[in-house]
Symmetry: C2
Subunit: 521 residues, 2 copies
């Protein structure tokens, strides 16, 4: 089957089809070209009567009550991560009921969701719009999905839902704690996960909303992350997931000397960047390098008597420790990664939930990422234009979601990519990244164990670090140095067919992902 | 000027014009006839860019930036009650700027807002949609407003805004605490008022939102009742109000023997009603009788070892004391009435804010009033059909808003009206109330110091109290008894012209308010 597309070049030099799957695409025009306008989606007008019973005995009954049928779109959150039991449970039920051609719009899929591949093959799932970490991504890469998948950032997904680009017919919300009216939180019960921030927009905009819980408490469930005003049905199940895999007992700092060196470079860069001062703010994640930077920054803050105004999480025990010591005044939290963070989120008044619209929606009147001073982020590849790939590997396989990467890069005053210069003999710095996830114009610095490259757009930083002892060098030097060790890798074995779109946070298309030939092809 | 209307009779027997001020009216059809349907209003798509500055130097600059012009609608909350300084400040500025024919859509006006009368006279204010407590209501009663005012319940106002019936061009939100990005709360600062629950819907649905604060703190203001995602501009002013009049230092229980007797009857009725059991819930207010009932219930709960699951507030120190004693597990809070309650609202994890949509929106998927067992409410009049008037006095003057009265009555399992049988020689129980605010089908019991009347619809309660020692009697007996003391008052001196509509919570019209002749007419 030949795949022909009518292309137009976008602002990062990628060729984007004008149309795909009957959908007209808008090519990426630059990170800050969007100006809003128009009106958001209008949601249905429901009615609330006294005596209303929302509790249904099974997921099947909830699916029936919602009127789910062929071709509709359903959504899920990924707060239960690789411990999630709900997506498979719901899709299995949909399959049993004979419903087909469903668009799946999760915030993210994990290895635990590998069984969905069977449901793609049997026609139950017709499209996926959401992050695919691992097996489902690999399957889509090899052309397994009959349609083109769409990947969005955390902020971009909210935007798409609010703007009506992604209409959700039924949202299924896994809830570690809920009452019979649908008020739900993530802080109590065996499957506690912290905030339910990813699902808030689904609750606000989906036509029908089903809360699925393994911990039903007497009304009212307080606090609530999901308000009963937006929930149609509640289903109790024996278990929504595997607590062992929902959060780790503890998150650990990297022990790799290479990664510790990267973290040390990054921390030193930050400390000398001008951004490190009383009242500053930064974003942390759960990655080993990110945790090490957080730790190093915390130590320096204590030494210098500097306090941060807020940390924008993913929150871990390391951020909570700094908060408890008084080094940070506020924790903003979209997700937590360990049990200590759940406790703090539950109990501390200045540790608050950030629904994704507040976190990163470009179509809001102001989002959190735009107010943060520093973000340190990962990558699978970066290129000479500072474009960053977080979705595909150099072999072209689509194995990761975007998360908040692109959002933070656009918003943060100082956006750093902190990465080892090569992985498994594959260089990270490329002539052109395999996939552009985040445009180079929003990336300020690349930090590797072999050197630090500053984006030429940031003349101020280049000047500031002119006489620095840090190993600062132009990115093409860094690239050359690494290639001397690794060589230049083979290009990925890509086919013509486009299997996924990488949507920028404003709804334009920044890149496409092509089918990867199987090794036996 | 002759006023002719083309009438249709509604379900409580009131004659409602088919159309007024070019607006087609839907007559009230019964409390539970509404079934939702259609779509809510679609809000504008804004954009959030890094570096955006929301802080403007004056209210005038904010009004200009919002593009406010003749004929538009502006809104305010009433959390600052009779201490509010913001409404007058903003309308004065609008007047100075020469803008005219503004529709004012506050949640409520108080005596402090009497200067608005001048702005009605000079054409700055063309219409009012909101509660008018005191002088502005009196002025409107006498025909001072050139158009017909609309009064809505707390839940009904949210519904109207969300459904697009009341479109707000610019919402001005007085904030006791805010940051430069518009995150705002009511718990810190000299003008602290507790929640900002009335304004939440305004922030969500208004085209433009301006936060006005006298207490700007460094970003981020946490917790936030109003999220920065929905705020366009922030203005700092020396003072948003008079703290002495925003909340009372303490709320006081009535000392009137008559009112204490009513409270005692009401408490005894509740205790024997079947609703008083472990896990029950009720709503309190700040009125003297309501506080006394709360106190009596609390004492009995302690005696019997009964715990309430939640109190739905207006919260006072009395509710907080019960909460602290462990007699109540959760406090739901739309507004607070004293400083002790602000502290509890600020610090206690199980004392949470209820935006008005969660409190009482019939066009939600489930609101709080529908889950509460008991509500005790006031009235200016009740009638033989148990219809309740809270808006006008027997002289026809429109002096009070609806508040949550109608919402609670529709939702609560047991809705009691607790009132003295007469006031200033005017009987409270009338053949027909002057104005129907709340339909009799939603009222269960009338409690006065001279006896208790149960709505004949509640055969279960009539049976239950058959042999009660409480002075239970049919409502026409009670009426007769009171009239033997007071006589039957003169009918109000009403003119033909309709000056206000009483909108039921579903958007239908339950009654109209007519112009009252001045004493010299």
């Amino acid at each position: 089957m030949p795949y022909k597309y009518d292309y137009v070049e976008n602002a990062v030099g990628r060729m984007i089809p004008r149309e795909i799957d009957g959908r007209t695409l808008k090519p990426f025009r630059g990170a800050f070209k969007d100006n809003g306008g128009g009106r958001k989606a209008a949601v249905p007008v429901p009615v609330s009567k006294p005596g209303q019973n929302k509790v249904l005995k099974s997921i099947k009954k909830a699916i029936q009550a919602c009127g789910l049928r062929d071709g509709m779109t359903i959504s899920f959150h990924h707060h239960l991560r690789d411990g999630d039991g709900v997506i498979n449970m719901v899709v299995d039920t949909i399959a049993e009921m004979g419903i087909r051609d469903i668009t799946l719009a999760p915030t993210a899929l994990f290895p635990v969701h590998e069984p969905l591949i069977g449901h793609i093959k049997n026609g139950v799932i017709g499209n996926i719009q959401g992050s695919m970490n691992g097996p489902v991504g690999r399957f889509v890469s090899h052309g397994g999905l009959p349609t083109v998948a769409i990947l969005r950032t955390h902020g971009g997904r909210v935007r798409a839902i609010e703007d009506g680009d992604l209409h959700i017919d039924v949202a299924f919300i896994a809830a570690p704690c809920a009452d019979d009216y649908g008020n739900a939180n993530g802080v109590y019960g065996p499957s506690a996960c912290g905030p339910l921030a990813y699902s808030y927009v689904d609750a606000m905009y989906a036509d029908k909303v089903v809360v699925i819980t393994d911990n039903m408490i007497p009304y009212p469930c307080v606090p609530y992350s999901i308000p009963s005003t937006h929930v149609d049905y509640v289903v109790q199940v024996p278990s929504i997931g595997d607590p062992e895999k929902i959060v780790s007992g503890t998150t650990r700092i990297t022990r790799s000397p290479t990664r510790l060196l990267i973290a040390q470079y990054a921390a030193n860069f930050i400390i000398n960047s001008g951004y490190f001062k009383d009242g500053f703010s930064f974003q942390t994640g759960a990655g080993g390098i990110s945790l090490a930077i957080t730790k190093f920054l915390g130590e320096e803050m204590e030494r210098q008597g500097i306090k941060a105004r807020f940390i924008n999480g993913g929150i871990t025990k390391f951020a909570v420790d700094m908060f408890r010591k008084g080094l940070v005044e506020v924790l903003y939290d979209g997700q937590v990664f360990d049990t200590a963070s759940i406790q703090s989120f539950r109990d501390d008044l200045k540790h608050v939930e950030t629904p994704m619209s507040m976190y990163a929606n470009i179509h809001s009147k102001g989002c959190l990422v735009n107010r943060q001073d520093i973000g340190f982020l990962g990558a699978t590849e970066v290129d000479l234009d500072f474009n960053v790939n977080v979705n595909t590997h150099s072999d072209g396989l689509l194995l990761h979601g975007i998360g908040g990467h692109t959002d933070v890069a656009a918003g943060a005053g100082l956006c750093m990519i902190v990465i080892p210069s090569y992985r498994k003999r594959l260089p990270i710095i490329r002539e052109r990244v395999t996939t552009v996830t985040t445009p180079g114009e929003t990336i300020d610095v690349i930090v590797t164990e072999r050197g630090i490259s500053i984006n030429p757009r940031r003349k101020d930083l280049i000047d500031r670090f002119k006489n620095s002892a840090l190993p600062i060098k132009p990115i093409h030097h860094l690239k050359k140095e690494v290639e001397n060790i690794t060589g230049i890798p083979e290009p990925p074995r890509l086919k013509d067919r486009i299997v996924a779109l990488i949507e920028y946070r404003d709804g334009t298309i920044i890149d496409v992902v092509r089918e990867v030939a199987k090794t036996d092809e």
